[in-house]
């Protein structure tokens, strides 16, 4: 049995479903290196033509926002309704603008 030090590092997998779309996060997997991670991602996440392109990145290389900061980071946008087109009521004649 291998020890924790021998566990393959974790990678996050992003798949582009078809040309023209964004790569989207679809899960993670363990692989010895990035090259193998791409190979394994193909086997694990695209067995039914779910993708045309794969990105992998080491999970430890991702910097994420803290869920505890969610309110501080994202609430300020809540009261800025003037950033949305629906905030502006225009005369019917030009309302398709």
């Amino acid at each position: 049995m291998s020890t924790v030090q021998n566990e393959w590092p974790l990678f996050e997998v992003f798949v582009r479903a078809k040309a023209g779309l964004d790569h989207k996060h679809c899960g993670s997997l363990h692989a010895p290196d990035a090259k193998m991670a791409v190979q394994l991602a193909r086997e694990v996440y695209t067995r039914r033509q779910e993708g045309t392109s794969v990105w992998v990145v080491r999970s430890s290389d991702i910097t994420a926002s803290d869920p505890g900061d969610k309110d501080m980071l994202f609430d300020p946008a809540e009261d800025k309704v003037y950033r949305h087109p629906s905030f502006y009521e225009l005369p019917d004649a030009v309302n398709h603008m």
Binding site: M1, V4, E7, W8, H30, R47, R48, A64, D66, P67
Partner: protein, 333 residues
């Protein structure tokens, strides 16, 4: 496949004493769940919720891995190239499903090695159904039809589980799983319609063996389910064991008619008043015997799993060493 209502671990007492801060966090957590909200990996969650999920998700993952073994038994003996290709695709799916689930369990702060170690040392459970042998080719069809069918019934509600990484894994699994049940039914259909008398008997004999273990996959009756109430409260389990089992019986009885096989239960009959089928008592002693490690194949399955892991150790180590060497070379260059 294959979750069984896995609430077979002993009930743990929850800590009664909590700090004021913890009580506040827990109140917020509960409110979020009551609102139908999702919990993500980095969100605060009660220890007991985390523990319950690690147990359930990892047992589910183990079941996918061990589930490959009874089917692997038939890859070299599938009757046609078509059936062999289908079986290989299904087995590869089980591996994939296990990997989605291990990854989901790891988001809760446990390592892959810890999870596998628990399986290999016999500390963790997997679905009791895989401790039964696959004696004939019809067993492979019946596993698809009944075992995967039961698993799908169990799994669909889990796509709405409150723990989002698990729910997302389940969405992916359910999408792929439907083929598993359909290919099984199709294989049986061919034997029943175009087969010989002996082949039809083989299908019936397989149904007779797998029927009751399939009903057991939904777990103990609601009254005896140790984690049921808490898991329902937390949105981990959405439908009770008995309700799912009833749903499965009602759906399957009709499919058996189409197939032309009988269900090995003399007490099975339609109940007009309930609008459901009544069915005979399940042998829970057998269930607990198999869960407790004394089914027909428990030792064989675990031994095969441990052997596969140990035999693969040099490959995993070599791949890691190769990666290290490449990285050192790149640094030097």
């Amino acid at each position: 496949m294959y979750t069984q209502a896995m609430d077979t671990a002993p009930k743990e007492e929850r800590k009664a004493v909590r700090s004021a801060e913890e009580a506040l966090l827990e109140a917020r957590f509960e409110a979020r769940i009551d609102d139908g909200g999702f919990i993500e990996a980095k969100d605060w969650m009660p220890q007991h919720y985390r523990k319950t999920l690690v147990r359930q998700i990892s047992q589910h993952a183990h079941s996918e891995f061990v589930g490959m073994l009874p089917e692997g038994n038939w890859t070299t003996r599938a009757p046609t190239l078509k059936r062999k290709a289908i079986l290989l695709a299904k087995i590869q799916d089980e591996a994939g499903h296990g990997l989605y689930l291990y990854a989901a369990a790891e988001t809760l702060g446990t390592s892959r090695d810890q999870l596998l170690d628990a399986l290999h040392t016999g500390k963790a459970k997997y679905s009791s159904i895989f401790n039964y042998p696959t004696l004939s080719w019809a067993d492979i069809g019946v596993i698809g039809w009944l075992v995967d069918g039961a698993a799908i019934m169990n799994q669909v509600p889990l796509t709405r589980c409150s723990y989002a990484p698990y729910a997302r894994a389940m969405v992916r699994i359910c999408r792929e799983e439907s083929f598993h049940q359909r290919q099984g039914f199709d294989a049986l259909m061919v034997m029943m319609k175009d087969g010989t008398e002996a082949q039809r008997d083989m299908v019936q004999e397989a149904v007779n063996r797998w029927w009751w273990p399939s009903l057991m996959m939904f777990g103990p009756p609601d009254g005896e389910s140790v984690h049921g109430a808490q898991s329902a409260r937390w949105g981990i389990k959405r439908i009770s064991n008995d309700d799912l089992r009833q749903k499965f019986v009602d759906a399957t009885v009709e499919q058996a008619k189409v197939l032309g096989v009988s269900v090995p239960d003399p007490l099975l009959q339609w109940n007009e008043v309930r609008g459901h089928h009544d069915f005979g008592p399940i042998d829970w002693d057998e269930f607990w015997r198999v869960v407790g490690g004394h089914g027909p194949c428990n030792q064989e399955r675990l031994a095969a799993r441990v052997k596969a892991w140990d035999d693969g150790a040099w490959v995993r180590d070599a791949a890691l060493e190769h990666a290290r060497k490449q990285a050192t070379k790149e640094q030097a260059a």
